[in-house]
Amino acid sequence: MEEILSRLAICVERGKSDKASPFPPDMKDMDGAAELTQQLLQAGVSPDEILKKALMVGMNNIGEKFGRGEAYIPQLLIAAKAMNAAMVYLKPYFDKGEATHRGTVILGTVTGDLHDIGKNIVRMVLEGDGWKVIDLGTSVTTEKFLSSLQENPKAIVGMSALLTTTMVNMEKSVKTIKEQHPDIRIYIGGAPVTQGFSDKIGADGYFPDPHKFAKHLEKMLS
C-alpha cells in the first residue's frame, strides 16, 4: 500500500488527474490520482490515511517548490485539479463524518469587491492541505461572515480585497467580528493589502501567497 500511496502523492504533485490525462508526458497511460484513490479505498485504506499520507504530501511538495520559486500558481492549480480528482472519491466519507478535516476556514471577498481569483486559489490550496473551506463568494457582508461563524464557531476567517476602495471594508468586518468573537482568528490577503494594514485594522496577519497562509495554519495546529 505504501507504494500506491507514494505514487498517488506523485500524481498530485505533478498534476496527473486520471489515466486518460496525457500529462505529464512521462506518466502517459499510467493510473492517475482518481484510479489510485479508488484502488486504495478498495484495498481498505482509510480516507484519512489517503488524505494525510498521499494527497497532502503531494500538495505539500508542490507547495514547497512554490515557496522556493521552483513552481508557480499554474503548477499549484494543476496539482489542485489532480487533488480534486481524488477528493471526488473521498468526499462521501467526509460527508458521513468517517474522515475529518484539519479544521474549517471561512473565505470571502469583502463587501463591494467582485474579484475572486486570488480567493479561489487560496481555497484550492487549503482544500488540498486538508482544510474544510466554506467559500462565501464575493462582496461578502460582515453579517454573512458572522452568520457563517455562528454555524462554524471554531472556524478561521480569511478575507480578500483587490481594490484600495474595498480594502477599507475589511476594517469594518474585522472590527465587528472581533467584537463579537474575540478569539476568532482573521487573516487577510489581496494585492493592495500589507502586514502594516493588517496590524492597523486588528487582523491576525497578512499573507502574500496561499502557500505561506497554509503553512501558517499548519504551524498553528502543531
Binding site: 517548490k65 500558481i73 499554474p74 494543476i78 485539479k81 469587491d113 467582485l114 484600495t164 476602495t165
Partner: protein, 241 residues
C-alpha cells in the same frame, strides 16, 4: 483636432495572443508541467473567440481645454487628483483622450464557472487571457487615437489609469462621468469597480510636444502594483532564458 467620442468593436482575430505570451504573463517560466500548461493554454485560446465581445472607445477633449498643475489635471467641470507621478508625465499635454475597453461580460461568468466546476487551472488561464486581451485592445486603441490626431501633428503620452501611479481608484467615478452611460458596456460599482471585471479605463495625454516613454514604472513608488511585479518578472525571465 475637435472634441469627439469614438467607439469601436474589435474582432478577436485583430488581437493576436500566443500561448507563450499567456505563459509569460502567468509567470509560469520553464518549469515542470510546461508542456501540459502550454497545451491547456492552447485549448483555452481556441475557445476564446466565442467568449469575447471586445469593445473600446475614447473621448477626445477639445484642444487647449485642460490645465495641469503639480498634482491635478483640470478640465471643463472636472478635476483629476491624479498626483505628481502622472502630472509630470503629461505636463506638456494640452488635451486628453479618456478611454475605456472591455472584453465583455461572458468572460467573467466562464471564469467563475471553471472555479465552481473544480477546473481552477482553466479558470486561471482564462483570467490571464482576459487581462492580456483587454491590455492588447488598449494598445490597439492607442493606434486608433494616433490615427485620429496625427493629421494635426498631435501625439500621445503613456496611458494612466485610476488605481495606478498614485491615482486613487475612486476617481473612476469622475472619469466615467465624462463618458456616455454604459460606455463600452461598462458600469461602475459604488466601490469604483468596473463590471465586467476584465475592463480597463484611463487617460492619455495629447499634445504636439508630448512623448510616450518605453518604461515608466521606476517613476512610481507603489510596491504592491501588479503591473510593476509583472514587468519585473518578465525582465527576470528574459534575463534567465
Amino acid at each position: 483636432m475637435t472634441e469627439d467620442i469614438y467607439t469601436f468593436q474589435v474582432n478577436y482575430s485583430q488581437i493576436k495572443i500566443s500561448a507563450e505570451e499567456v505563459m509569460l504573463d502567468m509567470h509560469a517560466g520553464n518549469q515542470h508541467g510546461d508542456e501540459a500548461l502550454l497545451t491547456l493554454i492552447q485549448d483555452q485560446l481556441k475557445l476564446v473567440k466565442n467568449l469575447v465581445d471586445l469593445q473600446f472607445g475614447f473621448r477626445l477633449l477639445a484642444p487647449d481645454s485642460i490645465n495641469i498643475d503639480k498634482d491635478s489635471i483640470r478640465g471643463d467641470g472636472f478635476t483629476f487628483h491624479c498626483g505628481s507621478i502622472i502630472t509630470k508625465q503629461v505636463k506638456q499635454a494640452t488635451s486628453l483622450a479618456i478611454f475605456a475597453a472591455s472584453v465583455g461580460e461572458k468572460f467573467d461568468v466562464i471564469i467563475k464557472n471553471h472555479f465552481v466546476d473544480a477546473d481552477p487551472i482553466s479558470g486561471y488561464i482564462l483570467d490571464t487571457i482576459g487581462s492580456l486581451l483587454v491590455e492588447k485592445t488598449i494598445d490597439w486603441m492607442e493606434d486608433q487615437i494616433v490615427n485620429v490626431i496625427k493629421k494635426d501633428g498631435w501625439k500621445i503620452t503613456n496611458r494612466f489609469s485610476p488605481g495606478y501611479c498614485g491615482w486613487n481608484v475612486n476617481e473612476q467615478q469622475i472619469l466615467f462621468s465624462l463618458l456616455p452611460k454604459n460606455f463600452c458596456g461598462i458600469s461602475l460599482t459604488e466601490t469604483s469597480l468596473m463590471v465586467p471585471i476584465k475592463s480597463v479605463s484611463g487617460i492619455t495625454g495629447v499634445g504636439k510636444t508630448v512623448k510616450k516613454k518605453p518604461y515608466f514604472c521606476s517613476l512610481c513608488d507603489m510596491e504592491q502594483c501588479y503591473r510593476r511585479k509583472s514587468i519585473l518578472l518578465q525582465k527576470e525571465k528574459i534575463n534567465s532564458d
